[in-house]
């Protein structure tokens, strides 16, 4: 299948009292049913880009073309877009504590997500939800199912959110820092599940993270963002051979277990990285 997702010249800007801020600038990429990593520091525009792919604000989106599986996403009516969200393209937001509905039990929210996309009885959806919660390493899924979001730790809420977003079986999953609140052992379980969804079900995955090591080891391909622009794209296995000085600087700034150093090299930022290509 040829590129399910294709984005051409996407720009997102925010109007403010001091004029417009361009959060995403001229971003173009295409992806297949693969694990695409987007890496960059805070403010690089990666989350704004993720939201814009679903046509979610804030910000004004200008894009020459954006298609998914042959559908023109820019041309879609609001209701058709709503029908597509969750069912075909789902997103795990960065802060699950805010994204979950505080006055509804976690279980009801997951079941709702499931029943919005397929005709299934409450009981069937509940069983599916609990199986998913168990798969992401929640030992007592029944208790979590009955809990309200404020009763969950950050890691629990993050996993509940992941269960909610994959239960409908989307074709493309956008995961914005999906494992940032998770301990290492649980993180591995969640990554394994996402991995299986890609390899077994052929789901496409956009994995957003600031963690270079994680992206390099988990993804197939990496996009490096800075100041709203794509600076570099490379195969994940070849990240250590990245050529852009920003990527090189980030790689060098990580404390390494293997090589003791007294000080870490500071990243020198070049204003030219923010300039538009001629």
């Amino acid at each position: 299948m040829s590129a399910p997702l294709r984005v051409e010249d996407m720009n997102v800007s925010f109007e403010g009292p001091l004029g417009a801020t361009r959060a995403v600038r001229g971003v173009s990429f295409a992806m297949n049913r693969e694990r695409l990593g987007i890496v960059g520091e805070s403010g690089s525009g990666k989350s704004t880009l993720a939201r814009a792919l679903l046509r979610l604000g804030p910000g004004r989106v200008d894009c020459r073309a954006m298609t998914f599986d042959g559908i023109d996403l820019l041309d879609l009516s609001a209701s058709a877009m709503r029908a597509l969200r969750g069912r075909r393209i789902a997103m795990i937001p960065q802060d699950p504590a805010i994204a979950l509905n505080p006055v509804m039990t976690v279980g009801r929210q997951i079941v709702e997500a499931c029943r919005a996309s397929e005709r299934v009885a409450w009981r069937g959806a509940k069983e599916k939800a609990e199986a998913l919660l168990e798969r992401v390493g929640i030992r007592d899924p029944e208790r979590i199912f009955r809990a309200y979001p404020h009763e969950l730790s950050g890691g629990m809420a993050q996993r509940a959110m992941i269960a909610m977003m994959v239960i409908a079986g989307p074709d493309l999953l956008i995961a914005d820092e999906p494992t940032s609140a998770l301990d290492l052992s649980v993180r591995h379980r969640v990554l394994t599940m996402l991995d299986e969804l890609v390899t077994e079900r052929g789901m496409g995955l956009i994995f957003i993270s600031h963690d270079l090591d994680l992206i390099a080891s988990f993804c197939d391909r990496i996009i490096v963002m800075y100041g709203g622009r794509i600076l570099e794209t490379c195969a994940a296995g070849e990240l250590d051979r990245a050529t852009h000085p920003y990527t090189r600087g980030l790689l060098a700034a990580r404390p390494r277990l293997e090589e003791p150093r007294r000080l870490l090299p500071a990243l020198e930022r070049d204003p030219a990285w923010l300039e538009d290509a001629p």
Binding site: D183, L184, T192, F218, G249, L250, L264
Partner: protein
């Protein structure tokens, strides 16, 4: 410099009373950097709180600079040790300027020369005088953490208790803050008790570290052993394996 003997710390009351730290014994020499590693809820931050006098319900022995720590916070200890917290967005008072924040410990300790001391502390963490009258919302995460470090340093303590001081920061900013901590340690001959979940950061900053699981220390070893992979406890080996990213099966 810090000695803990059979430390137990409890949270909650009555039927909800639970031990967060159990049977922890450790010893830090002056000038040493010692790491505490573990997953969330393993008790590593609780140890820092107990040493800082922020835990109420504890048993065992806590000695700082040879002196036994009693209940509650004492101003003698504040002069000797200070804490830097994980979240630079939550640890600074949003309606206090940088100067107010930095001057508060001086007022509490009835110390004079506030203007000079605040200036010196800002200087030590690499912030210019222009930051003196700013509010936290006018600072980046890295700048906030520098202010938190300046506040910790202003009483010229011998010990810093660092609770994940860089985990909320970007890699490049983390590098700057870690470099700052390395320089400050050399300049003021500080002793660090450093909590982190990141083995790379611990290996970079510390000489020795303890691995915690469910409130107990399961392994204490030198960073050299971590580099060589010479680790004895299965949980430590698991952490070491998970470091550096994702490993696919088969």
């Amino acid at each position: 410099m810090i000695e803990l003997k059979d430390l137990e710390v409890w949270y909650g009351r009555g039927a909800d009373r639970r031990a967060a730290v159990q049977g922890v014994t450790l010893r830090l020499e002056a000038g040493e950097s010692y790491g505490l590693v573990g997953e969330s809820g393993s008790g590593k931050s609780t140890i820092l709180c107990a040493v800082a006098g922020l835990a109420r319900d504890w048993r065992g022995e806590i000695r700082v600079g040879g002196r036994a720590r009693g209940r509650g916070r004492k101003s003698v200890f504040a002069r000797q040790l200070q804490m830097v917290f994980q979240d630079p967005y939550g640890s600074l008072h949003p309606r206090h300027t940088v100067e107010t924040t930095l001057a508060e410990p001086l007022h509490i300790q009835r110390l004079g020369g506030v203007t000079e001391r605040v200036g010196a502390a800002l200087d030590a963490v690499g912030l210019s005088g222009a930051f003196r009258y700013r509010y936290p919302h006018q600072l980046s995460g890295g700048q906030r953490q520098r202010v938190a470090i300046a506040r910790a340093l202003i009483l010229k303590p011998k010990i810093l208790l660092l609770d994940e001081p860089t985990s909320a920061l970007d890699v490049s900013v983390q590098a700057e803050v870690l470099n700052l901590l390395v320089r400050l340690k050399e300049e003021f001959r500080l002793t660090y008790l450093f909590v982190s979940h990141d083995l790379g950061v611990v290996a970079h900053m510390c000489e020795r570290f303890a691995v915690m699981q469910e409130g107990r220390i399961v392994e204490e070893t030198e960073v050299g052993n971590l580099r060589r992979g010479a680790l004895s406890h299965p949980f430590t080996r698991e952490l070491r394996q998970a470091y550096g990213g994702y490993r696919r099966h088969g």
